[in-house]
Amino acid sequence: MTVYLDHAATTPILPEAAAAMTAQLGRVGNASSLHASGRDARRLVEESRESIARALGCRPGEVVFTSGGTESDNLAIKGLFWSRRSQDPRRVRILSTPVEHHAVLDPLMWLATEGAKVELVGVDRLGRLDIDAFRAAVEADPESVALVSVMWANNEVGTVQPVRDVVEIAHAHGIPVHTDAVQALGQLPLDFAASGVDAMTVTGHKIGGPYGVGTLLVRRELQPTALLHGGGQERGIRSGTIDPPAIAGFAVACETAVARQGELAERLAGLRDALVSGVLREVPDAIHNGDPQPGPDHRLPGNAHLEFPGCEGDSLLMLLDARGIECSTGSACDAGVPQASHVLLAMGSSEEFARSSLRFSLGHTSSQADVDALVAAIGPVVERARNAALSSRSAR
């Protein structure tokens, strides 16, 4: 039996979403074709768009389908930077945070080589944006800010960002705000219009939908410069043949995740507290990272991020994996080499501490039995990982 505690990486597909998707797989019809089969495909896509819009509090025309979170982030960051700068060449600054996902940070670093001035405003020990520093950064020269990108909730430590305050400060100067809400959807209340943000990234496979499909919600008034040019689909912002089966599955997952969000969040918060207190009981010197306070303004209900002093995170992961318990150490590079988490480093952690932590993330299939299995295993696993770290440090 696998104990799956890595829902923040990807979560099992909902049976409803799988059914909606598979029902379409055998059908023919390019949604851009003019004949009956094409119109049927297009109708399915538009109905899906409408249901996603209802679930997320936006207009259907604001839903731009993409291949997922990374593409949506790239489209928002590069596309909005290019279009805003072309309207006014003074707009070269982008304000963001050092705890963003690499799908935001890497486009920012790339744009920095293309003339952008990227400013990553610091976060506190909990991983939350220093809002006063952010205000100061905006007000230092608001005319020069092309856009702001601040994630809704952090994928590693689960800390929720003060997006409402960010929007208020940026909008006072007419600056658009993008947020990566990939982790938030389904776990926190999310409403595009009410949030005030101008662009929002969400993706299918984190909410019980299929892989390879997501959306950038982007206000009608904004026309990000396209990354992909071609047939002019999706308002000309994102060319490429539309994928009706994936979109149908994604739409069902979206509706379902939003409808069940309140109930899920409550259940996960209870399981998560049991997980954290159980692990701390077994390993009293473990350290809990992120915001200790519960609630949708504070942390993701399903995220538990713990540091185990004296252990290598990847030793812990391997030992738990051998016992059928699956979790994450944070980010990994192409070759699978564990790197010290940039999020923890930005929160003031040392490289050594950053390498000794694990993320457990809960989702719609999580149960008390999962938590019990982890709590039963963690004591001996930590002891073994500590011994391994000690023996590999001492010279032979």
């Binding site: 990847d314 391997m318 070759a335 080499v337 073994r384 770290a389 590999s392 032979r396």
Partner: protein
């Protein structure tokens, strides 16, 4: 046993892991990431540091049906192998980084961590054979396939390390291993062998050293054995004892014979060259001995054979130890031996131990000063 298979992404380690699994061991595969930025050390398809190699190892593990992880050993590797390699060259010695990696990384940092994590042994694709001797100690012997024998680079392993190692390939010729890999469905069956130093991406050791040691003893003179200045050079680490090519000496030798590097003096930057005969060595001194089993009796001459470089010839020799000092008298003279290389001592096919060469005695002269 629970064993950890170190998988480089090559054919040997893949077959070694497969054999261990087939014998019934509980095998976990690991690939060692030896460079922090996997693209910086090596960009070709061979070697042990690329993303492709990690992927090849991962795919082999999939086919064998074992769990697979990447272990980041880049810091230890940099400190213990790369920096050591550089400082040895800077001081005029010729190190063997594979030996050093086995001593410090694969059978030390990795093995220790494996034991700590509850594994019983490390399995690798090295060509060498382990047997239990009559005294109950583990003996390491040369591989069946002498052309692939790697006991030389394993000569640094101690009894404790050997007791926790498995070399499943030692009894099989390389060609058979490739056939076996193909039969097992391992995609790396036809992957070329790696020959170069894994952390030097293009195989140009001289260029790599020139880049890294740019500000170390930049220039110096090239002199003949009797002290006549023949030319200048841009760094003594560009030379290896026994080197013939690339000396760029304008005037030919009086007898018209080619000249070879005889000696490197890193402090003054003096490189001495001379005729081939002057390279012959009939004795050497070595330090830092590591014995695979029982250490030889101090002061008692041991008749044995020695190997002085990877894939080098065997020389009949008499070895005498005195604590940390090892004296080797070569009955068959050797040529082009440099301090820093390892002398590995054999009794027949069995590895007795190894030590690092600190000085050589030239057969042509009565004695060249023992420098290092």
């Amino acid at each position: 046993m629970r064993v950890l298979a170190a998988m480089s992404g090559g054919v040997d380690s893949a077959v070694a892991a497969a054999r261990a699994a087939e014998e019934g061991h509980d095998v976990t595969g690991i690939h060692l990431a030896l460079s922090r930025n996997p693209k910086s050390y090596r960009t070709g398809a061979r070697g042990c540091c690329t993303i492709e190699d990690a992927n090849d190892a991962r795919r082999a593990a999939d086919v064998i049906g074992i769990p697979f992880y990447v272990w980041d050993m880049s810091e230890r590797f940099h400190e213990d192998v790369v920096e050591d390699f550089l400082s040895e060259y800077a001081e005029g010695r010729t190190p063997n980084p594979c030996l050093r990696c086995n001593e410090k990384i694969k059978f030390a940092a990795v093995l220790d961590r494996a034991i700590g994590l509850g594994f019983d042994a490390v399995v690798t694709g090295h060509y060498a054979q382990l047997r239990t001797g009559s005294d109950g100690l583990i003996e390491m012997h040369r591989a069946e396939d002498m052309s692939k024998d790697q006991s030389y680079v394993l000569g640094v392993l101690t009894q404790d390390q050997l007791a926790h190692s498995l070399f499943p390939l030692g009894d099989t010729p390389k060609a058979v291993i490739r056939e076996e890999a193909a039969r097992r469905g391992l995609a790396v069956a036809a992957k070329p062998d790696s020959h170069d130093i894994c952390f030097i991406s293009d195989g140009d050791t001289g260029g790599w050293l020139a880049d890294k040691l740019d500000d170390v003893n930049r220039g110096g003179v090239i002199v003949s054995a009797d002290g006549e200045k023949l030319g200048e050079h841009e760094g003594s680490w560009r030379y290896t004892i026994g080197q013939r090519r690339g000396l760029r000496i304008g005037t030919p030798a009086a007898d018209g014979q080619p000249r070879y590097v005889l000696d490197i003096e890193p402090v003054s930057g003096t490189v001495t060259v001379g005729p081939r005969e002057a390279l012959a060595v009939d004795g050497l001194e070595a330090i830092r001995p590591r014995w695979c089993g029982t250490a030889p009796e101090p002061g008692v001459p041991l008749e044995c054979t020695v190997q002085l470089r990877a894939h080098g010839d065997e020389h009949r020799a008499v070895v005498t130890t005195d604590g940390d000092a090892v004296e080797v008298q070569l009955l068959d003279p050797a040529s082009g031996i440099a301090p820093g290389q390892a002398v590995v001592v054999y009794a027949g096919s069995r590895v007795v131990g190894s030590a690092t060469i600190s000085a050589t005695r030239r057969a042509s002269t009565s004695l060249v000063e023992a420098r290092r």
